[in-house]
Structures are given as structure tokens and as C-alpha cells.
């Protein structure tokens, strides 16, 4: 776990992770015209990072993404989603769709829905990977003697 897995796994992971991340971003961005959405895309993003963690071990991974950065992304995503709601509140009604709905079936349509999807995607991706990281770096029995 600490040192990571074999060279084969590492090489494949290097190749595959970028594609998983790309697919996750696609699922998040196209949630309002095709199946998917912020939550599914966020889970895919976090699954890609979990693959990195399993293949390269926790020291290597935490050099790329630190735990505090994950907490910040998590809170920032939640705040962004709340901001969409509050801007709507200032514009008239809580959660009103204040952007124009645009032409259907396009990427830039449906008003605030893509914005909400992006916020949820960032939040869920960072948060679930953070939980997995916290479970992975949790070492049992280290402070048993303190009791």
C-alpha cells in the first residue's frame, strides 16, 4: 500500500487515469442533455483518483493532492451550489433559474442546471476521495496506549 503496486499496474494506471478523469468531466458537463449528471460524474472523478491512490500508494498521491485541498474543494463546491440558489433569491426567488434557458439540446442551455452540475461534481469528487483517503491513512492502534 505504501510503496504502491507493480510496474505494470503503475503504467496502466498512468494511461487510464486521464481518460477516466476526462470521462468524468464529460459526464458532469453533459448532464442536462444526456444521461449522467453532477453526482455520477463526481463519483467517476473520485474513482479515478482512488485508482491513483491504490496504484502509487498514499505518499505519492498526497504529494499531488493534499488532504486540506480536498476539504477546501468540498466546501467550495457546496458553497457554489448554495450561491446559485442565493443569487436566484436576490434575483427574485430562491433557486429561480435566473439564466436564459437557451436553445435545447445544446451544451449552453438550461440556465443554471450546468452550473449546479459542475458545483456538485467538484464537491462529490473531492469529498468521496477525501473519505477514501482518510480511511486509507487511518492507522489502527497507534494511540491505544493513551487510554
Amino acid at each position: 500500500m505504501t510503496q504502491g503496486m507493480s510496474l505494470i499496474v503503475k503504467t496502466i494506471t498512468r494511461l487510464v487515469t486521464s481518460f477516466i478523469t476526462l470521462f468524468g468531466i464529460y459526464i458532469v458537463l453533459y448532464g442536462h442533455v444526456s444521461p449522467g449528471g453532477g453526482f455520477a460524474g463526481g463519483v467517476i472523478l473520485s474513482a479515478g483518483m482512488i485508482l491513483l491512490l491504490l496504484a502509487f500508494g498514499r505518499e505519492q498521491t498526497m504529494k499531488i493532492i493534499s488532504h486540506s485541498a480536498l476539504v477546501i474543494w468540498d466546501s467550495a463546491g457546496a458553497l457554489a451550489f448554495l450561491t446559485v440558489a442565493v443569487v436566484g433569491y436576490l434575483a427574485g426567488d430562491f433557486f429561480i433559474n435566473f439564466l436564459s434557458t437557451g436553445e435545447p439540446y445544446r451544451l449552453a442551455s438550461a440556465g443554471t442546471i450546468p452550473l449546479s452540475n459542475m458545483a456538485i461534481g467538484a464537491k462529490v469528487g473531492a469529498g468521496l476521495f477525501g473519505v477514501f483517503l482518510a480511511l486509507a491513512i487511518f492507522r489502527p492502534g497507534r494511540h491505544q496506549e493513551e487510554e
Binding site: 444521461p35 453526482f39 435545447p104 439540446y105 468521496l128 473519505v131 480511511l135 489502527p140 492502534g141
Partner: protein, 121 residues
């Protein structure tokens, strides 16, 4: 018993199996898995409620220009939205339960509920 209720009853059987695991098993991980099974069964039940015979997915493409024809043929989107929310809630509960199980294993050295009760105090 009509055939129209058969899928509902099978979902109910799945629910009761989950409930049985939660109530009768003594292992923490087994209990967590029982909650998972129960959650899947309730999600399945909601999904079955929303289906209509021959229904298409409630996702429109540019070819389906006729709104009334689409509205008469698509499945109910509300249960799907409810299930998405419920899946997320289940995942949150699972993360919390798993971290509690890890902590309990660290403190007591076992996943057995009966031994955890004996060790207390």
C-alpha cells in the same frame, strides 16, 4: 394475487431479507451490508413504481419533436430523481457507518457486536 403486483412483492422479499440481516446478524460488517440490501430494495421498489409499459427513458433527443407523443410514452421521471437522491444519502450513511466500524475495530479488536457489548465498561 394478480401478476401486476408480482415485481412489487419480490422487491418486498428483498427488503425483508435486508431487514433480517440487520436484525439477526451479529457482525458489524454484515449489519452494514444488510442496510445496503434494504436500501437497494427500497430504490428498486421506487423504480418499479415509475415504470409504464413500453416506456422510453425520459431523455429527449432532437428527433422527438412531438411533445405530447413523448409525454405519453416516457416513464415517470420523479421516482428516478428521488432514487438519485436516495442513492446519495445511502452512500453518505455508508461512509459514516464504515468509519464507525473501523474505529470500533480499532478500539475493541473485533467486528462482533456481542463481544463489543461484553467489553464495554
Amino acid at each position: 394475487m394478480t401478476l401486476g403486483a408480482l415485481p412489487y412483492i419480490l422487491a418486498l422479499v428483498l427488503m425483508l431479507i435486508g431487514l433480517y440481516v440487520v436484525v439477526a446478524k451479529k457482525n458489524i460488517i454484515k449489519i452494514i451490508l444488510g442496510v445496503c440490501i434494504l436500501e437497494y430494495a427500497v430504490n428498486l421498489f421506487l423504480l418499479l413504481l415509475g415504470y409504464r409499459h413500453g416506456g422510453a427513458a425520459p431523455i429527449r433527443t432532437a428527433e422527438q419533436a412531438d411533445t405530447s407523443a413523448f409525454a405519453a410514452g416516457a416513464v415517470d421521471p420523479i421516482p428516478q430523481a428521488l432514487i438519485l437522491t436516495s442513492i446519495v444519502i445511502g452512500l453518505g450513511c455508508l461512509a459514516l457507518m464504515v468509519s464507525l466500524a473501523v474505529r470500533l475495530h480499532e478500539k475493541f479488536g473485533t467486528f462482533d457486536m456481542t463481544r463489543i457489548r461484553e467489553l464495554k465498561g
